[in-house]
Amino acid sequence: MDIKERIQQEVSSNKIVIFMKGTKEMPQCGFSGQVVQVFNVLGVPFETRNVLEDAELRQGIKEYSNWPTIPQVYINGEFVGGCDIICEMYQSGELQPLVEKALQA
């Protein structure tokens, strides 16, 4: 399986998945940590994948999303954004309904 297929599988089999630096238990970057915190506060189940342990994934996800930075949040197979966008959506109240809808789907 090439990396594109691998990513495709990750985002389609997990409702919420965060490609990040570190793990949800131990984030290794401020932006990644912030995103994990948002989803912890929302209290919803989510998966994380550590790009620091997987160089192929680290490069592959940037090409897959056409997005140059980490973390990257996928909800229901769709790229929603990185830290700035997720935090903005959380603060504006847009994130919660999006997450709820995804988990119900």
């Binding site: 401020g30 997005w67 140059p68 930075t69 929603v80 954004g81 700035d84 966008i85 903005e88 959506m89």
Partner: protein, 77 residues
């Protein structure tokens, strides 16, 4: 290493009407906080807006010259 001024210039080249503020925040010259307001963002998703700014930065995120970028975009009236 890039200066905030250079980053501002690159963004304005791509978005001539933009109001741009750039702040370097790590002391190491590679962590930037950027806010961009432009009419070109109207009707676009946040992801699309951010991608326009990334495009202006000419691959410096890929080559590591910019290590971190905190970005805020908004539509200019």
């Amino acid at each position: 290493m890039l200066s905030p001024q250079q980053i501002e210039t690159m963004i304005r080249e791509a978005l001539p009407d933009a109001d741009v503020t750039v702040r370097e925040y790590s002391g190491g010259g590679d962590h930037f906080q950027v806010a961009v307001a432009s009419k070109a963002f109207a009707g676009k998703s946040r992801v699309a807006q951010h991608q326009m700014v990334y495009g202006a930065l000419k691959g410096h995120l890929d080559d590591g010259v910019i290590h971190a970028l905190a970005l805020q975009t908004s539509v200019k009236e």
